[in-house]
């Protein structure tokens, strides 16, 4: 697999207390465990099984993901930004790896 690279999209600006739309995507095969290789053997499951988003330590979204989530899992949701601060996004891989991304967001 290629290197895992999270992508985050936040609005350019928002006022304190606004709800903003957060879009995230991470490149990952999300190998479902349903597929077989050319030799007929089942390809073992390897997916992102959990995704979380926090803003200044407050949980925004905690998602438990199954193999039915498409490759390169995309998540779009809304977060409240009471003040300026940091979004922390975390993806948990079946293989034990944890990928994180941090985005600073300034309210006006």
């Amino acid at each position: 697999m290629t290197e895992v690279r999270p992508r985050i999209r936040l609005p350019r600006s928002a006022s304190a207390g606004d709800s903003i739309v957060v879009k995230t995507l991470i490149n990952h095969d999300m190998e479902s465990g349903q597929r077989r290789n050319s030799a007929g053997e089942t390809i073992p499951r390897q997916i992102i099984n959990r995704f979380t988003c926090e803003f200044n330590g407050v949980m925004v979204l905690d998602a438990a993901l199954e193999p039915a989530i498409s490759a390169n899992p995309y998540m779009e949701f809304e977060a409240v930004v009471p003040e300026s601060g940091d979004f922390v996004f975390t993806w948990y891989d079946d293989n034990g790896e944890v990928y994180t991304a941090t985005e600073t967001f300034e309210v006006s």
Binding site: D18, S19, I20, S32, Q34, R35, R36, N37, E54, F55, N56, V58, M59, V60, L61, D62, A63, A64, L65, E66, P67, A68, I69, S70, A71, P73, Y74, M75, E76, F77, E78, A79, V80
Partner: protein, 138 residues
């Protein structure tokens, strides 16, 4: 040599066998729902699912679920080999109980979203998505 009667019998047998997996397939979905709700009653409606009526590619079907007043949404693909798709829990920092993602659908089927409300009750809505090319193959 096959008589007309034999042919009929074979046909009946074949259709009985063909119907078996359908009857068996209802169970994992019921199990998934029961595991989530603990057998509690589920109200109809209150959840909005936005998904294409016809998905050409079952590998990546966009879906948006909105459930005002919900603290969590469980998404179930009733026709997939494993029905659970994802469970989305909204924390105190959530701006609205909504989630948009992309999912795999193995075939034409009903997609079911169950919302867990603030008071612990459940509500659900399902929509049918027709799939041209399934998303579970190799």
């Amino acid at each position: 040599m096959l008589t007309r009667r034999d042919t009929l019998a074979i046909g009946l047998g074949a259709s009985a066998v063909a119907m078996l997996p359908v009857a068996a397939a209802a169970t994992p979905v019921d199990d998934a729902i029961a595991a989530y709700t603990g057998g509690a009653a589920i109200a109809e409606g209150g959840v909005t699912i936005t998904a294409p009526e016809i998905a050409e590619n079952g590998n990546t079907v966009p879906i948006t679920i909105e459930a005002p007043g919900a603290v969590e949404i469980m998404l179930i693909a009733t026709g997939n080999p494993t029905p659970n798709v994802g469970k989305f829990t909204f924390g105190p920092g959530s701006g609205a109980p909504m989630i948009a993602t992309r999912m795999r659908l193995g075939r034409t089927q009903d997609v079911l979203a169950i919302a867990k409300m603030e008071d612990g009750s459940f509500a659900s809505t399902s929509v049918e998505v027709k799939v041209t090319i399934g998303g579970c193959g190799g």
